[in-house]
Symmetry: C2
Subunit: 213 residues, 2 copies
DNA sequence: TTTCAATCGAGAAATATTTATCGATAAGAA
DNA sequence: TTCTTATCGATAAATATTTCTCGATTGAAA
């Protein structure tokens, strides 16, 4: 009965969507108006049927013999992922990685707008990093609530991650993007994504071991 | 016929292995000597059977009623992932993200040792970042060959990523960890992992959209 | 207008992955 | 010693995901 039908899509599909999105943006900037699954699949090294199924979850429909219209397809993906309007976010841990994340312009494209950073280091508090203020952690809950912040990014050392998460929960944050290599203990209704660099590295290491064996 | 039997393991399993690894290291540092799948599963919020199957791919065997010995289990995972000895790597793109990666001590734990960085920016070349030299890109192939570097990390802007990859291939590098949001066109026998932050963010965005709908 | 080739969409088949079941084993209690 | 319980390992069942097949549609060429 909702206006935007929330179809549940396989997670692997959702993970591939950004690849299509980048590809399509690039096609668009090249003046391309239509594109078929066959071509996308060839360029992205995927199965054409899979591309078709993946795109279908966003609700788009293609035309036989031609394919999909690039611009509506981009919009369809943006809409599906909620990337059509910016969501403000807070970051905790303005260290090495945190600084890189604060400065990354690319997130805007994905609907993510990190508006402020929080840290416990007195030397960092009050400073600005890439134009964003660094505030003391205890200010987070109040501000998050007041500003209706929904997303929190954690880039503190592993041992402080749970504490950072707790503060976020306190501030009414609903989704956490966690860069620390620990699994967080959170209320049922919280959304979490662990950005686990070690996972990718594990796959890489393993494949390399197999390749050079 | 190989000495180390290369069983092919499901990729999801390999991706979970680092989580067990961290968890076990932590258990170890707490003086824990044995641990069962049941406990691991509870703490990591997984299915006990899955934990058992995952650990089994590394070749370890547990004891009924007790579980697994922590230290041998850690070694078994390290061995399986090739994390028991350091592999040297080169990084291309000493920018914002590259700097964070160069300074990250955690990679050592995963058997990865970034020994030098390469960039095209004259102002960066010759400098040291976190104790690692920044060299001109055209030095990469020769050095990589001479030092038998097998792993390359790409942290240049998307439009330069393919060029960086090509140079790595030229230098005999066999595995690429790519942080740029593009899919690289590489020879068959190259190993690649795209560290796609956008993928995680997509899942997060989507789940958040569903959670607050 | 008719034919042809490219492509879509839907459903079926094949694979991969996760979850459940069950007998065997070991440690500790009775 | 015997009983009980937690756990393992193997196999089976269930579920999820990818890949295949095929009829329908469309635009362009004959
Ligand atoms: N640097 C990388 O390339 C990299 C790569 C993968 C994962 N990570 C993970 O990201 C996290 C951060 O890594 P980093 O290299 O940026 O570390 P870092 O030490 O450079 O930065 C950590 C920051 O968190 C702050 N901090 C510590 N405890 C805090 C607390 N309780 N509340 C608020 N702020 C606190 C510190 O003051 C510091 O500014 C770590 O968990 C690390 O494992 C980093
Ligand atoms: N910063 C982040 O948090 C972040 C997050 C996700 C993904 N990324 C991706 O990582 C990559 C790097 O991001 P960044 O923020 O560090 O960018 P950056 O601009 O800070 O750094 C890029 C570096 O690459 C160098 N470079 C450019 N072209 C080169 C070439 N052809 N050869 C050698 N060096 C070259 C530049 O001199 C610069 O030092 C980008 O592809 C970006 O999309 C970054």
């Amino acid at each position: 009965m909702s206006v935007v039908p929330i179809k549940k899509a396989p997670e692997p599909t959702i993970r591939r969507l950004p690849d299509y999105y980048h590809y399509l943006k690039w096609m668009q900037s090249n003046g391309r108006e239509v594109v078929s699954c066959t071509h996308i699949a060839r360029d992205l090294d995927l199965d054409p049927t899979q591309v078709r199924k993946d795109l279908a979850v966003t609700g788009i429909r293609g035309k036989p013999k031609v394919g999909y219209l690039v611009t509506p397809l981009i919009e369809s993906i943006e809409n599906f992922l909620g990337w059509n309007n910016l969501t403000d976010a807070f970051l905790v841990g303005a260290g090495s990685l945190g600084t890189a994340l604060l400065g990354y312009q690319g997130f805007k494209q994905y609907g993510l707008n990190i508006v402020a950073a929080f840290d416990k280091d007195k030397r960092k508090i009050g400073k600005k990093i890439h134009g964003k203020e660094v505030l003391p952690l205890d200010k987070l809950p109040g501000l998050a609530e007041r500003m209706h912040i929904l997303i929190g990014v954690i880039s503190v050392p592993a041992e402080s991650a749970q504490a950072a998460a707790d503060v976020m929960v306190e501030g009414g944050i609903r989704a956490i993007w966690n860069f620390a290599p620990v699994s967080l203990d959170l209320p049922e209704d919280m959304v979490v994504q662990n950005e686990n660099l070690a996972s990718s590295l594990a796959v890489l290491s393993r494949q390399l071991a197999e390749a050079v064996k």
